[in-house]
Amino acid sequence: MSGKIKNRTLKQILGIWTTAVIILGLGLPMVAQPSHWGELPLIPGLEQRARIIFFHVPTAWLSVIAFLTSMWFGIRYLRKKNPHDDIKSVTHAGLGLLFCILATVTGSIWAKFNWGSFWNWDPRETSIFVLLLIYGAYFALRSAIDVEEKRATLSAVYSIIAGVIAPFFIFVLPRITAGLHPGSADDVNSGPVVSSGGMNATMRVIFYSSVAAFIGMYLWMSNLHIRAVTLVQRKELESGKA
């Protein structure tokens, strides 16, 4: 009983937290020289569009972390053959795909406003696109195998191979195209926004709170999904035996 109450309270906290982030992130005014905490800095070249940072960046980060987590559970499955690890692997991959789509779409809309076109093949856009392709391939592979054990094994192998090759992008991409993305070395208007002095304290707080909010949502959704799938499988097993 107390577990349920704790969960409900946590969910409510998460809801309120996220709402606060949204309101503050979108509502606080942006001025050139912020004088008190209620104001956010105006980044030359980005202005109001910088607000996207609260939503676009966490989703992008999470889509990568989700992939790594999925790969990690894939490795564990290969070692121990525990079907539970496979459930976790798919769940994280599914959420990763969702966040990847969100990141691509938010990024693309923002790109339209900022540079005039929806897609530009700048290195970061390309890499999120490739991540999307990898997720797509992962699920296409899974849907093509009937036997559970084989499905789990092969998709784990694929995600490991993809995980090994992905770092090559980090070396290859920057050499091929110059970066338009804020934060890449070429960006004339603003250098890396997160680490340099582009953000003031308030903005930083809101940003990291947003990251936390997204992580909270992610953990909540993954937990729910894992429990749901486990229950469904247990029911199938029981009805199959009866």
């Binding site: 797509g136 195998i145 084989k150 094994t153 694929y158 090994v164 992008f169 091929i176």
Partner: protein, 214 residues
């Protein structure tokens, strides 16, 4: 292992003829599409590797898929260690790719007068390394999809994301060679290609058992 696949291929000529026809028809279409105009070097470099990529997709999975379809997969498991199977088929695919790619390049030189290879050493190294890289990634993916249901369409879907870093590097190096760059300018690209091949082959070796044994 390699010899067995090779002799089988000589006997039946399935893969080679399919690939050769593919390259011929694709280049013919492209020649018509360009309508007598000669596109720039960068475009040609890209087109060349697109053709190579798709011809790979049409032919490199055969070595595993055919075993599965004919029921000889089980026989092979009884005959050889997984490592022998992997490296034998990898070698086969490498040879196949090298033959087809050389042919594609020769056809390119023949049809497109604007396609110049000024730094021959650079170009040949790029072609060789790129081909080996293509074969190595394709082989492990072929092994994976051979165990799945919808083999044909799955192969390019799984391969593309993994081959993109290879393709980008190789197109870049090819463009360099057509501009007459020095061999040393390609070293960065070569380093990437060699480590790609190493990484893919290493990972294939480690994971192949899980894919091959049911």
């Amino acid at each position: 292992m390699f010899l067995k696949d090779w002799r089988s291929e000589l006997r039946t000529r399935y893969a080679l003829s399919a690939l050769v026809m593919f390259v011929l028809t694709t280049i013919a279409i492209i020649v018509f599409a360009f309508g007598g105009e000669s596109p720039s070097q960068e475009v040609l470099a890209g087109v060349l590797w697109v053709i190579i990529f798709f011809s790979g997709m049409s032919g490199l999975a055969r070595t595993f898929v055919a075993e599965e379809e004919r029921g000889t997969s089980l026989t092979l498991q009884l005959l050889a260690t997984p490592t022998a199977v992997l490296f034998g088929k990898l070698a086969f695919n490498v040879v196949l790719v090298l033959i087809v790619n050389t042919m594609a390049v020769l056809l390119f030189l023949f049809f497109f007068s604007s396609f110049r290879v000024d730094s021959v050493g650079l170009f040949v190294t790029t072609l060789t390394l790129g081909s080996i890289g293509l074969a190595s990634a394709s082989t492990i993916i072929a092994a994976i999809i051979a165990r799945a249901n919808t083999k044909g369409s799955l192969f390019p879907v799984l391969s593309l994301p993994l081959l993109l870093p290879l393709l980008m590097t190789v197109i870049h190096a090819t463009t360099l060679s057509s501009e007459g760059a020095f061999f040393s300018e390609g070293l960065d690209d070569f380093r990437i290609l060699v480590s790609y091949i190493g990484a893919v082959t290493g990972v294939s070796y480690i994971l192949f058992d899980y894919v091959w044994k049911d």
